[in-house]
Each structure stands twice: as structure tokens, then as C-alpha cells.
Subunit: 310 residues, 2 copies
Amino acid sequence: MSDPLKKPALFRRACLIGIGLIGSSLARAIRAHGLAETLVCHSAADGSKETAQKLGIVDEVYADPAEAVRGCDLVILATPIGANAALVEQFGPALEAGAIVTDVGSVKMAVVRDVSPFLPDAVHFVPGHPIAGTEHSGPEAGFAELFQNRWCILTPPTGTDPEAVTKIRTLWETIGSNVDVMEAGHHDQVLAITSHLPHLIAYTIVGTADDLEDVLKQEVIKYSASGFRDFTRIAASDPTMWRDVFLNNREAVLEVLQRFTEDLTALQRAIRWGEGETLHALFSRTRQIRRGIIEAKQAYGSGIAKFETQ
Amino acid sequence: MSDPLKKPALFRRACLIGIGLIGSSLARAIRAHGLAETLVCHSAADGSKETAQKLGIVDEVYADPAEAVRGCDLVILATPIGANAALVEQFGPALEAGAIVTDVGSVKMAVVRDVSPFLPDAVHFVPGHPIAGTEHSGPEAGFAELFQNRWCILTPPTGTDPEAVTKIRTLWETIGSNVDVMEAGHHDQVLAITSHLPHLIAYTIVGTADDLEDVLKQEVIKYSASGFRDFTRIAASDPTMWRDVFLNNREAVLEVLQRFTEDLTALQRAIRWGEGETLHALFSRTRQIRRGIIEAKQAYGSGIAKFETQ
């Protein structure tokens, strides 16, 4: 039923490639805000396909990515980034002129490298990264509010159609995100520190604990509230997504990992030689960063996180 | 006003040595549950002393530790563990026969080493460690509910008077904690993994970020919700307390740190050489530990922590 007085939706027909945590959250948010007249998705995973259909969060589900994107003016890549090249190679020729392709990947240089070669000239590519997520995976884990008050970083290559960028910005702003635009390489450097290194370390420490003899491991679980627990949540994130992140942001991750390892070695030495002043100086300095984050309203000063240290 | 029908308090006169986050929380909890007829404290820090008086969470505040413990049947050490030896040396001779001394330190072997030599024979020592805390410090940061549904580990040396252990157990259970008893060395090994290593790593990564050039550092703060933020909270914990933990649990921390470093190096190598299967296998394995923690009810499956990864 078309209402002549109703403002047209931002997109006529939008397609999600992948319907996991992020894809299904986007589907719900796009629906909730009426951002697409028709919303379809491609899902290769049989289970996810059926779940997406059952959940009723899209109008149509396609097993074939080329069929899925046909006639769409918006295509959102929401699969682990390692799958991008093969997918875009398949559906690229089916894209219509003027369509906008965007993505939600945690690495941006590799996405530009993998996706651009397979896009027709008349298609606009606006890479994006919503800094949002949970440790849960799959279409049932999604929720429409996931992106509210979160950053979304767009990294359009030089020469990208400004109108296409504006439309993608509007999409994210409408569903509650704050949008920043930066260069892809810079994004990858910043995220290597704020996200990729923390995840790598969390995966490592939880793996170290998992290798303990069984009795000790049970105790680690029992007393996990003393700090360890926070790491386990991060280390429960999607394995495929994170494998692809590390394989595709290799240089930036290795660079920051090298810095981290040097710093850890210095601390290790200070502990071994009983250098209390070195430890105290660092531990005082790190408090400042926390204050900066609280001032930037990126954390709660107290409250929900109250019970989780020591 | 003494009521002849009223059950006597568990302790006649209790003394807190130190009135920071843990000490002041204990003071509030002891008061709330009527566990001591009179509650006093020693505070060396002028600011804390005045705050404790102003807050009215104890009956009397003493600058001299020996005066503070005089006539007490319970003395609770709640200062950073590096301060223990000097304090107990001061107040030890003033302890009355039959008094129970306990503590709240995050390391237990070093506490036994530092405290025991200064205690008169007729005094009972029951070392303890409540696994509770926040990243905030000082008497104003405390609250009576801090210990509810948290573990408290007691590590009484062989031969400790069972009645003294029972009284300390009752104290913690009354204020809502679950009590476990184990050997001090074992405690230190378990906590090195669940608490000390996570804190050391969090301090390190936040320090690494703090060393970045200023523009990048501002962006790390801005986008901290992508994983880094969780580390900053841990790395905002009390510097003196944590310096003392690392200096006093050196062997156990260095041992587990060595394991962690080996594991991190293996991951680094896998990233460098593009070994996706190695990464995926580890990232899948670590999910299991999280499930174990959720089953052990030490974490929320979803909910408040929902918005904090990727």
C-alpha cells in the first residue's frame, strides 16, 4: 500500500550478504526505521537461512548471492571478511548501475583490496565498520538497538561519490550510530590497538588457562571473577570472524603486538628484580587513560562494572 | 543499651587496619550485620582518617596501630600487603591473648611470612582473601554489599585453632560471601592465573596505548568500546596494592607469565605466516571456557555486558 504523502524509504531494495549477529541486527534496525522498502538477504549457511526466514527479519532469503543482489540499490556485506572476495566475484556482475555496496568488516584496507576489483564501474563502494558487537553469534543473537550510541567508521576511497557516502552515513545515523570518516589504513592502525590486540591477548590468556591441568582449570573457572572473567567474554567472540581479522590486518597487528611484548618484558623484568617503583609508576599512569575514557563518555565511572576486579 | 535477650555480637571489639575500598566496605558490612559491638580502625593516611571519621563507619579512628588493636578480639589487616610486616611489628605486642588476626590480601604465602613472626603465641592467625573489589580506591568507594555472592578464600596454616577459623568463616558468610579453605601456596598459584596475570596484561596494554603519539591516543580513547575499554577498567585498580601483589607473588606470576608469553609468541607466528587453522582452533577452544564460566554462574550469558566487544 503506497501512501503518496509518505516519504520514500532511503533505499528501495536492500540486501544483506550474511545474516549473523551484525547482519541480523542491521536487518532488524533497517526494518525498525523503515530504511528500505524491501529487505532481502543472502545466506549460505543452511541453519542461518532457515533461522532468518523463521525470525521474519527479512522479506526474502536467497542461497545464491547473485540472485540476492539483483535489483538492489543497497548491498551490505556482513560475512567474515575472508569470504568477501569470492562472494563479490559471484554477485558483482549482477549489481545494478548506481547501486551502493558497503560492508561491516573490522579491517578496511583488506576489504578494499578484496572487494573493489569485482565491482562494476557504475557501482559505489563505501566501506564501513560499526564498532559494536557482542560475544554471541548467529541471526538469533542480533537486536535492533546494537548500533545505538556506537561509532561507525566509514573509509570511502578517494573519489567515492559523495552522495553515496551521505546515504550510508544517513543509514547509520538513523539507526543511532555516530559516524566518523577516515582513511582505511588509519582505521586499521587504530583498531589494531583498540580491538585486535585486546582480542588476541584475551584469546591467548584464556588458551593458557585452558592448557592447565583439569583441577586447576576448574578453580580458574570458579574464581574467574577476579579479573579473568572479563577476558573470557572477549575470547568467546566468533572464531571465523576473528581469524579473518588477524590474517587481514597482519602488519598493523604485528607492529602493535611487538610494542606490547616489549612492554610486557620490561614489566616481567621489574617483577623479577623487585623494582617496585617501575611497577608503581606504570600502574599510576594507566589510571589516567581510564579517566580519559570516562571523560569521553566511553565508559561508566562505576555502576554495572562495579563487582568485577581484584 | 544492653538487651539481655539479644544475641551477643560475633566479636566484642573489632579493629580494621586500613580503611580503603576493602576496609571501609568491611566496616559497613560489619555494622550492617551487627557483627561487632564496637568497631574501630587504624588509618595512617590523614585524608582517609578524616574521611572515615566523617563517614561515621567506625566508632573510633586511631593513628597509632598499637592503640587501635588494644582490647580487640578481632583485627583485620586491610592495607596493601607490603605494609603488613611493619604494621604487625608495631601492634603485635599490644594484641590480647585469644584475639584473632585476619587479613584481606590478594597474596597469601607472603602474608603468612610477613605477619606470623610478629604475632604473640596466644593469638590466632586466619589469613583470608575476599575475591571482590572495584577499580575505585579509598574509604568513600566502599559499600556494604561488596562481598555479597563473592568468594572468600581462607588459608589457615596447619594447626590453626578450628574455632578461630569457624568465627572468620561465619563473619564472611554473614556478610554474604561463599567461603573456601585452601593451602596458601595453592591460592597464590590459582590467583596468579585468574587475577594477577590479567591485571598485569591489562596494565601493560593500557601502558602501550599511553605511549602512542597524542593524536592516535585520543582515537584509542574514542574507539575504546571495541575491546580496549575492558582492559582500562582493570588497569585503573589501586597502584600500591598491585605493586605489592606482584612483588609478593613473584614466582607464581613469573611462571604463568612465561606460559602466556610462549602462547602469545605461537599466535604471533601463526599470524605472521597466515596459519588460519591454528588461529581458528584456538579461538574455538576458548569459547568453551566461557561456557564453563557461565555454567558455573560466574558470568552473565548476555545482558549488561552485551555492548562491549568487537
